[in-house]
Amino acid sequence: MAHLEVDLVAADRKVWSGAASMLSAPAAEGEIGILPGHAPVLAVLQPGPVRITPVGEAAVRVAVGAGFLSVDHDQVTVVVDSAEGSVVQA
């Protein structure tokens, strides 16, 4: 099955990266959900939780500051100013 390659990066480090089956993020005009095969998009994010469902594992949640998100060819890059220290189980 197709999956997403997710990179979640903050200004000074890489927070999370790996394969995921779903990702949702707080876009400027409401929550945006990304599934494999999504059209290329560049979205502005507001502060809030990013939820990632890794392939075959339980979802994780990271609280992030403002930033943006880009999707192309199942390659998802979430770029944020700051991210809370830990990645927690949702």
């Binding site: 990179d7 990066v9 903050a10 200004a11 000074d12 480090r13 890489k14 876009a27 400027a28 005009e29 945006i32 059209a39 290329p40 998009v41 560049l42 979205a43 502005v44 403002a66 930033g67 943006f68 880009s70 192309d72 060819h73 890059t77 770029v79 100013d81 700051s82």
Partner: protein
Amino acid sequence: MAGQQRVYRQRIRSTQSLKKIFRAMELMAASRISKARDRVAAASPYSQAITRAVSAVATHAEVDHPLTSERTDTQRVAVLLVTSDRGMAGAYSASVIREGERLIEQLTAEGKTVSLYVAGRRGVSYFTFRHREITRQWTGASDAPEVETAEEIASTLLDAFLADADEGGVSELHVVYTRFVNMVTQTPRVVRMLPLEVVEGEASDASEMLPLYEFEPSPEEVLDALLPRYISSRIYSCLLQAAASELAARQRAMHTATENAEDLIRTFTRLANQARQAEITQEISEIVSGADALSASS
């Protein structure tokens, strides 16, 4: 005679304690430089992602943003000079300040007024000593810059760039910093950061064709969010490079200083030995001549 010996011993002792300081500074710089390089590596995914996104927007949307357009209403330009907080780094601060002075001279010759922004205590003291006006200064963490510092610098400079001409607005922003090439080479560099020219690297590779993005909520708002972040990420990477360069320069300078101290100690030890030998020789000849005089008189 004994005085001469004592002076040499004293100088040997003081040089030895200096050598210990130099050695400690060298080791400290050496241990911090690997951290600084790790930090450069940790920040690169962010700057790569942001650069990619900016060029994606630039290739697909008509880029017309205040940050990318030339300003003609003011002759004032901003120069950000990145120096170190502490000395003991050889010519590090001196060479970046020299590069900055050259740029300022060139800009002044073009009829522009320069407003100075300085990071690092060495640069600040250089300009205050010469009674030159500094618009804004940042000191305190030149060898381990924080993201917050970079963001503060970026927002100050962006505000200056977007301000009206009569409120101290600037039409250009130049950054002078030291690029970390490798452990041996660090070169001072001048970068014109604003107005932005969104041409990053060579995007001619066909496989690297950027997809047709949808923008959420709109291209303008995406650009609004992206460009300030791009600037602050560029400034952050400048600060990180400068920090790594500073530590490398300090390590090298302290290494040379340690070696020089060793040379000095060796020279002084020779001289002290010579003085001691001379004293002994003189004492012997005094005793012998004394004994001679006694036996001749008896």
